[in-house]
Structures are given as C-alpha cells and as structure tokens.
Amino acid sequence: MKTLQFAIKKTIAALITIFAIICTNFVIFRMAPGDPVRMMFRDPRVSAAQLQAMREKFGLDKPLGIQFIDYLKQLAHGNLGYSFWQKRPVIDVIGDRIGQTLLLVVTALVIAVVVGTLLGALSGWKSGSKVDRAILSLSLVFYSIPTFAMGILLLLIFGYLLLLFPLGGITTPASGLTGFANIKDIAWHMVLPTFSIVLWYFGEYVLLTRGSMVDVLDQDYIITARSKGLRESVILRRHALRNALLPVVTLTGVNLGFAVAGVIEAETVFSWPGIGRLAYDAVMKRDYPLLQGVFLVFAVSVVLANLVVDLIYSRIDPRIKTGVSNE
C-alpha cells in the first residue's frame, strides 16, 4: 500500500500549494501601488463619488482580512470575478477559451516530448559521436530562441513571405466551414503556433534524456546485461531506456511551467484565441480581474498536472511501488 501512502502525501501537498497560490494571487493584486479602483477606471472624468460607489461595490473598502474571506467564498462558488473588458464573468471568458489552449498545448507537448526524447536517447546512446554533437548543437541553438521570437520568425517567413500558412487566428474568418473541412482549417492554423512551441521545448527534452541516458549507460547493470550476451537493441530498450526515461517523466512535471510560457507567447503572436492570449489582452486592457483569473487557472493547472505526473511515476518506478528495501 506504499503507492496509496505516496498518493495521499502528494495530493495533500498539492492542495496546500494550491491554497498558497490562491493567497499569493490575493496578495499580489492588493499590493499594487495606488488605488485599484483608480487603476480600473483611468478616465479622469469619473467622479470621486462614483469611484467610492465602485469601491463599495467591489468590497474594496472593507478591511483586508474580510476581503480575503470574501475572496475565498467567491472562489468556492466558482466566481473568479468580473471582466471589465469583456463585460462578463471571468469564469465564462476563460471557459470559452480554455479548450483552444488545451488543443495547442497538448499537441505541442506531445510532439516535443516524443521527438525530444527520441533524439536525446539517440544522442546519449551514441555519446561523443558526430550524431551526438550535431543533435546537441541543434538543440542548444533552438533552445536559445524564445517561443515568441520563433513565432515571429515563422510568421514572417512562412506566413508573410511564402504565404504557406495563415497569419493568425484559429479559423479562416467568415468561411462558414463545418465538419471535417473545419477541422482541416483549424489544423492548418495550428501548424505555426505549434511549431513555435515545439522548436523550443524539444531541446529541453533532448538535453534531459541525453543526460539521463549517459548516466544510465555508466551503471553496472548495463555491463551485466552485456555479459548475458543480449542483443544491443534489447540492452537499449529494456535496460537503458527503461531506466533513462524515469527521471524524464518526473521532470516533465517541473517543465510544465515552460509549456505555459510557450503557449502564452505563441497565442499572443498568432492571435490564437486561448487563455494565453487572454493574459496579453488583459494586460493591454488593464483588466485585472481577468488577469487574476488567468493566473489562477494557469498556476492551479500546473500544480494539478504535476500531481498527475507524480502519481503516474509512482506506478512505473518499482522502487516507489513496493517501498524501500527490506534488508
């Protein structure tokens, strides 16, 4: 039952972290210099009385402690605030767009992880060779190009110059496409933003997997495997990879923060209607409730995703599955 113990421990830790994030969220927006209501309504024609009314409406005149409890109560009801820009509840705005972000981020992650891991494993297996050096240099160069920069470059070259891909958005406007044609349209719009994310992210996995592979190949059990007369492919698959990929799984969780950054940048450059783009719009429009909501959603998602990764890991690593040795 070690797995259950582990699962409970990790879940509790995740919940505590989520609570800490909620508190942080609250604190950050209250520590803004200046008057939050002034910030939301910068039009100098708004009178002081109107501002005071606003303050009361949003409960901003109450003591901080009460504001915090109110905030928690709201959250418990799924109320993330009211977006000034969109003139509707934040939760609705986010709900509308989260699917598009998931589509983009999951696709990009899957491609990046698979390609990165394979290349990294190859690089590590042939450590020191020309193939290894080539893969490393390539990865390092791509890793140095931030997603938004890559996005702009891809947009300029493949969008504007070569006219191969659309310049933004998720579908061709007013085309009225449905069904399969619609899906193809979306896929076509997805290519450039996905690649902007992938081309940075895969480098992370190449480096990770390669390092792990190099460590594993140094281990005694690889010599034992060779002394059994096993074929190279078997040694690679069953002994090297299976062990090398374990730390990569753990680190996937840690790296999700980068995936979030990537999706925010890509959605901004390509006007992809997801919650990453919402962050940019909220900043531009000074819509703080919306920004708060987006931050909360991103942060909590990362914590939950990490939890899922930890739970999966506990099932695949026998050292955790069965507990520590009984010597």
Binding site: D220, K228, L230, R231, N243, L246, P318, S325, N326
Partner: protein, 321 residues
C-alpha cells in the same frame, strides 16, 4: 568440444594498455596461463596488479581508453581477441559468464529478478516464456533463494542475496566457463562464508571450469586448484595450490603468504610488504618487484626475469634455479 585434461581457456602473451595523455599505462604486460577443464584457477595479487583487467578482457569488456594491444585469448580454441562481435555475443551468457564484485547497481532496478534470470535463458535457448520462468525458479532454488521471491525487485534484496542472483544468472545456461571476479569481497563475513560454500558446491554440481580472482589468500586456497600470482601486470609465479602454499618460491609470493597471519602458533608481529606497487606508465627496469624485494641483486635491477619452470612451479625470478 574440450575433452578432459584439455584447456578451456588459454591466455597467451596478453598485453593490455590504457592510453593516457602521458603515455600508455601497461595494465597487463605479457601474461600467460591456461585453465584445464573442470579445474579452478585462482588469480591473486594486490589492487591494481591487472587481475580484473585480465578478467574483463576475457569477456572483451575492455573499453577505451583501454585496449588489448597484443596476445591471444583462446576460448575452446577460438581467439576471443579477433572474434567477431556477433560470435562473441553468442558466447557471452551461454558458455562464457562472469560474476563481478557486488555492486549496488549490478541488477536492473526496474526488472524483477525472475525476469533478469529468464532473460538470459530466453536469449540463448529456444524455450517458451513459461519454460524460462520455470528454469528461473530452479535457478533460485539452486542458489538458495526461496523461489517465492521471483517477482521481487533488486532493491528488496540484501547484498548477499543480490550476489546469489548474479550467480543464478551466470549459471542459468549451464556455461562451460565462469569468471568469478572478487565475488564475495565487500560482503560481511558470514555472508562471505555462505557464498563461498555455495560457489564450491556449484562448481562440483555443474562441473564448472572457473577463473577465481581475489586478494584474500584463504579464499583462493579453499576454492582453487591452481594459482597464478600477478604483480604490476606480470605473472610472478604459477603453481598448483599445494606447491604454492606449501613452498612459495618467488619472493613476492612468499611475502604475500607470510603477510597472512596464522590463527595457530605464537602471536607474531604482522608482516607487510614495504612500499607500494609501481605506476604502470613507467614501471621499474628489470624485475618489477625489485624495489620492494629484500633479496634484490644487480641483475634483478637490470634484466627482466623470464618465467621458468622450477620444481613444478613456473617462476619469474633470477634468484630461483
């Protein structure tokens, strides 16, 4: 096939170098020995004398910057040094096996021990998975582990048990020849004794021919028929067990045996060999042992002694006629 009285393994003029920036380190500098079927050859010497390097070279596990630069290793008549990788792979695990010194990580941490034993059987013999698994269970019985533990993972076993699993793996395909490279070193003494008994029983039961490497003389004397004494990459003396321990001829062999305290008789001061083994990049001229030998003469400092037969032993010393 090798008949009784014939040699399974013949090492001839083996030279292994490790390339360093300042020149080659001559880890094994011209050694010869052979092992007859159903006998056990012991290889002793201080740390760094080249015995593990020699053992690993038989399996051709010498990785750069190490290299076998000369010599032959004839296994059942075929030269391992020149063999193709594919042929060698088929020998490893099946006819030619090794058990190394206990290491925390000598077993794959994410595979059950049953799988790891069955794996070598499945590779070399055409049996079904179920049959291989049954054989694995029998192997565990053979080495004294309850076969209920067949689904255990290595981290659930103690050091001694893990070493037993290594022995189970090495003997799984009924090999002709097994190398035991310090198989009990590093374990606690009671476990050492248990494993030694196990190894001796298996040698008889399975008719194994073995190369046993150790630096503990008592272990060698209990398990081996024939002994080779190495120093600084060279063979100093070769003899059968009784001749060597009864009447060691080479000053180094004598010193080694004298350094081993006897449990009987009066208590004496512990004797050790002064000095340290030489650096293999630039070994001493003449006899390698002369800087530490109390009998060294001028000829010892100048000329390297050849291995000569004296009184049933093979000795490399100018002073022994």
């Amino acid at each position: 096939m090798v008949g009784m009285g014939e040699s399974i393994l013949e090492v001839k003029n083996l030279h292994i170098h490790y390339l360093t920036r300042v020149g080659p380190a001559r880890a094994v500098d011209g050694i010869d020995f052979s092992i007859k079927k159903n006998t056990t050859l012991g290889l002793i010497g201080e740390s760094g004398c080249g015995k593990t390097t020699a053992a690993m070279s038989i399996m051709r596990f010498i990785m750069p910057p190490g290299r076998i630069v000369d010599g032959e290793i004839l296994f059942e008549g075929d030269d391992i040094v020149k063999m193709s990788e594919e042929r060698l792979r088929k020998l490893r695990g099946k006819k030619l096996t090794i058990v190394r010194q206990e290491a925390q990580n000598a077993l794959n941490p994410v595979m059950t021990i049953g799988d790891q034993i069955a794996e070598v059987i499945l590779e070399h013999e055409s049996v079904t998975k179920a049959e291989a698994w049954e054989r694995a269970e029998k192997q565990l019985d053979l080495v004294g582990i309850s076969h209920k533990r067949i689904k255990s993972y290595p981290h659930e076993l103690s050091g001694g048990m893990r070493q037993r699993v290594m022995i189970a793996i090495a003997t799984a395909c009924h090999p002709d020849f097994i190398i035991l490279d310090e198989p009990i070193t590093g374990l606690d003494v009671i476990v050492q004794r248990q494993l030694l008994v196990l190894i001796n029983n298996l040698r008889e039961q399975l008719n194994l021919t073995a190369l046993f490497i150790a630096h503990d003389l008592s272990v060698i004397s209990e398990t081996c028929d024939y002994v080779v004494v190495m120093y600084a990459g060279k063979v100093m003396e070769r003899a059968d067990k009784y001749s060597l321990f009864g009447n060691p001829l080479h000053p180094y062999s004598r010193a080694l045996i004298e350094a081993y305290p006897s449990i009987r008789g009066d208590r004496k001061e512990l004797v050790s060999i002064p000095g340290a083994p030489p650096r293999l990049i630039d070994p001493p001229k003449g006899c390698r042992f002369h800087p530490r030998c109390k009998y060294a003469t001028d000829v010892c400092r100048e000329e390297e002694p050849e291995l000569r037969e004296v009184d049933g032993h093979y000795v490399a010393c100018h002073l022994i006629e």
